[in-house]
């Protein structure tokens, strides 16, 4: 009965650790910890852990227990992990979520069980609009906001025409739509590439070059961003047509993009050199604790998620059954965010500034991101009207 049953028995026993209602705050953290994008999940976990260190690993006087779950970048796996966190571990909060599709698949489980869910990255338009929920908060943005800010910056620079390239999935379409919502010049071409399998952009780059556009805008997160920039530079287009980006250059991709990224601007709500005290401490402690690594906006958003949760727990003095009071407290955004103060909109998404970042060589000669200007102040997503919450 051998292997199969022995295993099944062991499995059932292992899963049957009914949650003891001990006096602790339980947080589930769902992100990607395996596969090529594990590097993002690791950064989020590092930052979440650092936030807990800064909080003395206690919230409202109670010890904090975090359960990290790997969604493998698959919506159905993510959903299953959220079910486990809700039903088996009986957590008070769930945070994390890199990918829009994983978040959308998991949303219903969390909301139905009235467990607070904090998205520390994913920002699909549905979340801001008709799927908004009293139990869901975001410490990031809505997908359109960042590229929309880039479109504004391109207007400020007097760019007359643009060629858009992005991956063919919801976030990619959101991004290109975001630029178009604010850019006043002419869109001479719009290309969608197959996601995530297409990594060679030679056909698209050739078309962009032939279109005689004055600029190119791209959105390629993670490794695809490295590939795009490499090919853009190798094709010799860098000297001819300037590139504008959203979520394409960050501290994770920069060591691979190297000099190809110099002088390519991006928009972001957080940059590592924002001058507030919390941010300085975060960046310094992160680099001390995790030698050789630099924090990214993914990490900063995860750090803020921990602080947001803490603010709610402190407000109810650790009694996490008082959901309404915790919700009311979180709506105030009453914590020191790494990006500086922000407000929550009716849909629980931040109303916040967006900055222009550029790539420069820092004091150690390493490539780093630097804030150049504030593109837009107190920007709110354009879907909040669709959210029934007032």
């Amino acid at each position: 009965m051998k292997s199969a049953f022995w295993l099944a028995g062991a499995a059932v026993l292992a899963l049957a650790n009914p949650a003891v209602a001990a006096d602790s705050i339980k947080i589930g953290f769902v992100s990607t910890f395996s596969g090529p994008t594990a590097v993002i999940g690791n950064d989020m976990r590092n930052s979440f852990e650092l936030a807990l260190d800064h909080l003395g690993r206690k919230m409202g006087g109670l010890p904090v227990e975090v359960i990290y779950e790997d969604d493998q970048q698959k919506p159905d796996v993510g959903k299953q992990k959220v079910e486990k966190l809700v039903q088996s571990d009986k957590v008070d909060f769930i945070a994390g979520f890199i990918w829009s599709n994983v978040l959308l698949a998991s949303l219903k489980t969390a909301v139905d069980s009235k467990t607070f869910l904090i998205s520390a990255n994913a920002g699909p338009s549905q979340l801001a609009g008709d799927l908004c929920s009293p139990y869901v908060f975001s410490t990031s943005w809505q997908n359109d906001q960042t590229p929309a800010a880039m479109g504004l910056y391109m207007n400020q620079k007097g760019v007359k025409s643009v060629f858009l390239i992005g991956p063919n999935y919801a976030a990619g379409k959101d991004m290109l739509a975001g630029v178009k919502s604010t850019f006043k010049g002419e869109v001479v071409g719009e290309e969608y590439t197959v996601w995530p399998s297409q990594l060679d952009f030679s056909a698209e780059l050739s078309k962009a070059k032939a279109s005689k556009a004055e600029s190119i805008f791209v959105f390629y997160p993670g490794a695809a961003g490295v590939q795009f920039l490499n090919q853009y530079a190798q094709a010799g287009i860098k000297q001819q047509i300037p590139l504008y980006t959203a979520f394409t250059i960050d501290e994770l991709s920069l060591p691979l993009q190297k000099d190809n990224a110099i002088g390519v601007p991006g928009a972001q709500e957080w940059v590592n050199d924002l001058p507030n005290e919390e941010n300085k401490r975060y960046v310094a402690d992160y680099r001390k604790k995790y030698t050789g690594l630099r924090p990214t906006y993914y990490g900063a958003q995860a750090y803020d998620a921990a602080q947001l949760i803490n603010s709610a727990v402190v407000a109810v003095k650790g009694d996490t059954s008082k959901k309404d009071e915790m919700k009311a407290e979180m709506e105030k955004a009453n914590f020191k965010s790494l990006r500086g103060p922000f407000k929550y909109g009716n849909n629980h998404l931040p109303i916040q500034n967006f900055y222009l970042q550029d790539v420069v060589k820092d004091a150690d000669g390493a490539l780093a991101l630097k804030t150049v200007a504030t593109i837009v102040k107190d920007d709110q997503d354009r879907f909040h009207d669709k959210c029934p919450m007032k």
Binding site: L15, P75, K79, Q80, K84, Q87, N101, L104, K173
Partner: protein, 315 residues
């Protein structure tokens, strides 16, 4: 297939009893997640059982079987999104669409043999994947959330965890029973005969392709049912369920458990999904253990786990 008391039959009986009693255990221990986990396992087991029908008995190595999971799921999801919530409409549509898809790709694919068959089924599944990813109205690549599970007019409530679990288990047992009946029927014997010696069967006068095609369509329809169940279980359907790695997972379950044995795919699904769940709790590097484990099973455990159990009895 005589019902003697050997290790394989004991294993099958234990599986049936274990699956039937699981909700009791979940209630007693207060850990409902076990039930959630096993609902998923049972659904994948049904898909694996259907794949085993063509792969294990019919010798048709389909590398695109996950396509039906998606087709069944999208039938439910799209109808739900368009406001048709009745399961009496959704489920028949899911089954018929899967059957039609199987009919068309089966008719084309069965012209090929061996590895070519593996690859052409993969090609069709990938096409289905890209079609789903292009359905912008239904979420495209990001998938489609299903806000309300299929409604069976009060007959059964799919949102009740125990009820839904028993529905899935019932479907699984029904599927196994159907496969058992098919395999032992004249039709099934012909299909199995075709696997071992096609020329002889054709010489006797059996139209090989037609027999295979019927078998292929039955398996596709059964997997479409699994797709409808899966969509209801996850309240969500996305192109990812059709990706080729998912088809690979299903194949692994069948081979792991034991191809061409009635309960093999069920054992395979249980072991594969539990291992994944447990190893991923123990270490992030679960694949480092899972990978060589698969290799070892192939090298030393011919016929999968059920094969091992069978030899245990003899040896």
């Amino acid at each position: 297939m005589t019902a003697s008391l050997n290790a394989r039959n004991v294993a099958a009986a234990l599986i049936v009893a274990g699956l039937l009693l699981l909700p009791l255990y979940a209630q007693l221990s207060g850990n409902m997640f076990v039930l959630t986990l096993f609902t998923r396992i049972v659904i994948f087991a049904l898909a694996a059982v259907s794949l085993n029908l063509i792969m294990g008995y019919g010798g048709m190595m389909s590398f695109g079987h996950a396509a039906y999971l998606g087709i069944g799921g999208y039938a439910v999801g799209i109808l739900a999104a368009e406001g048709i919530g009745s399961g009496f409409v959704q489920w028949p549509v899911a089954l018929v669409t899967s059957a039609l898809f199987a009919l068309v790709i089966g008719a084309l694919s069965l012209r090929t043999r061996g590895v070519y068959f593996i690859m052409i089924t993969l090609a069709f599944a990938q096409m289905a994947y890209y079609v789903a990813a292009g359905l912008a109205r239904y979420g495209g690549d990001d998938g489609l959330t299903i806000y309300k599970r299929s409604d069976f007019a009060g007959l059964i409530n799919l949102s009740g965890r125990v009820q839904f679990y028993y529905l899935c288990t019932g479907c699984l047992f029904g599927g196994i029973y159907l496969v058992w009946r098919i395999v032992n029927s004249r039709f099934g014997l012909v299909v199995q005969g075709l696997r071992s010696n096609e020329q002889r069967m054709q010489a006797i006068g059996f139209p090989a392709t037609r027999y295979r095609l019927v078998c292929f369509v039955i398996a596709g329809t059964m997997c479409g049912l699994a797709g409808a169940l899966l969509a209801n279980n996850t309240d969500f359907v996305s192109p990812a369920v059709m990706y080729w790695t998912r088809s690979g997972d299903l194949m692994v379950m069948v081979i792991l458990g034991g191809m061409g044995s009635l309960f093999g795919p069920v054992v395979g699904a249980i072991v594969y999904l539990l291992l994944e769940e447990l190893l991923s709790q123990v270490t992030e590097y679960w694949a480092l253990i899972m990978g060589p484990l698969l290799l070892l099973i192939v090298l030393f455990g011919r016929g999968g786990i059920m094969g091992l159990l069978g030899r245990l009895h003899r040896g």
